[in-house]
């Protein structure tokens, strides 16, 4: 079976952080259709961080956060939308640039400000726009070394168990 083009939409209430766990588990299992366990866990991490950011900073209230997971020829594409406050694009641009600390100076260690940095580290492409009253994020993660989803699916089918 060639999964390229498959898509599924997931929704959670924008005021219910406890639902993020369910969403993360769903995303990890979806990503396992394309990636190995390590890369699938990275996709879960990125989406949990993104949805946490939405709930905590965009504050969409009781409107739904919508996540659309799509299998692309090179990996996965994820579209995330909420109806909360817009993000200052400079914050996304700057995320991770100043991630520096002295690991021996315990009291100065950062306890926050990691979410967007982590998303940018584990996903290959991250884009954001505010459109028609909605925050719209697009995340892409690719298979390593230019492999394609179709060839990975074929290889999996042909591998003796």
């Amino acid at each position: 079976m060639n999964p390229v083009g498959a898509r599924i939409e997931l929704r959670i209430p924008g005021n219910h952080p406890e639902s993020v766990r369910l969403l993360g588990a769903c995303v990890r299992n979806l990503a396992l259709m394309v990636f190995d366990a390590q890369l699938a866990a990275e996709v879960e991490l990125a989406m949990v961080e993104a949805v946490n950011n939405s709930i905590l900073h965009a504050k969409p209230g009781d409107s739904d956060i919508r996540l659309t997971f799509m299998v692309s020829p090179r990996g996965v594409e994820i579209d995330l939308q909420d109806e909360g406050r817009p993000l200052d694009p400079d914050i996304l641009e700057a995320a991770g640039r100043k991630w520096d600390f002295d690991p021996t100076d315990i009291q100065s260690l950062p306890v926050g400000g990691m979410g967007l940095m982590l998303i940018k580290k584990v996903m290959n492409e991250v884009s954001y726009r505010f459109e028609n009253g909605r925050n719209r994020w697009r995340f892409s993660k690719f298979l390593p070394s230019g492999a394609s989803v179709q060839s990975e699916a074929t290889r999996t089918v042909n591998t003796p168990s």
Binding site: P17, E18, V20, R21, A41, L45, V48, N52, P110, M114
Partner: protein, 112 residues
């Protein structure tokens, strides 16, 4: 509370019994550790064998606990799953936290 505690030769051993150390649990985790530390323990081991997912909020909570203890050599982690190790590396916190493969190894290090 998803936290179990026991004391072995004066060393506090905390086992996180939640599969997730995430935003939903981070605050309770910090409060639980603080409550245990108020009993006067200066050395502790955090057993993470049951944690298979940690996000930045969970990591922030761990860092807060470390600040309270004050020295990574007195707050050791053990049985850390690969996704959690990966988060430590992504954030460079692998240079901060000391991780042992088992509770016994961590206890031995604290006794030394």
């Amino acid at each position: 509370m998803n936290l179990q505690d026991k004391t072995i030769e004066g060393i506090l051993v905390l086992t996180i019994t939640s599969p997730q150390l995430d935003y939903a649990f981070a605050e309770d985790f910090k409060l639980g550790v603080a409550d245990c530390l108020r009993r006067g323990h200066e050395r502790l081991v955090i057993d993470m064998s049951q944690v298979n997912f940690m996000d930045s909020s969970g990591l922030g909570a761990l860092v807060s606990c470390l600040k309270r203890v004050g020295d990574p050599k007195r707050m050791l982690l053990c049985n850390v799953a690969p996704p959690v190790v990966s988060l430590f590396k992504l954030t460079r916190m692998d240079q901060v936290f000391i991780v042992y493969p088992s509770e016994q190894d961590a206890l031995a290090a604290l006794r030394a």
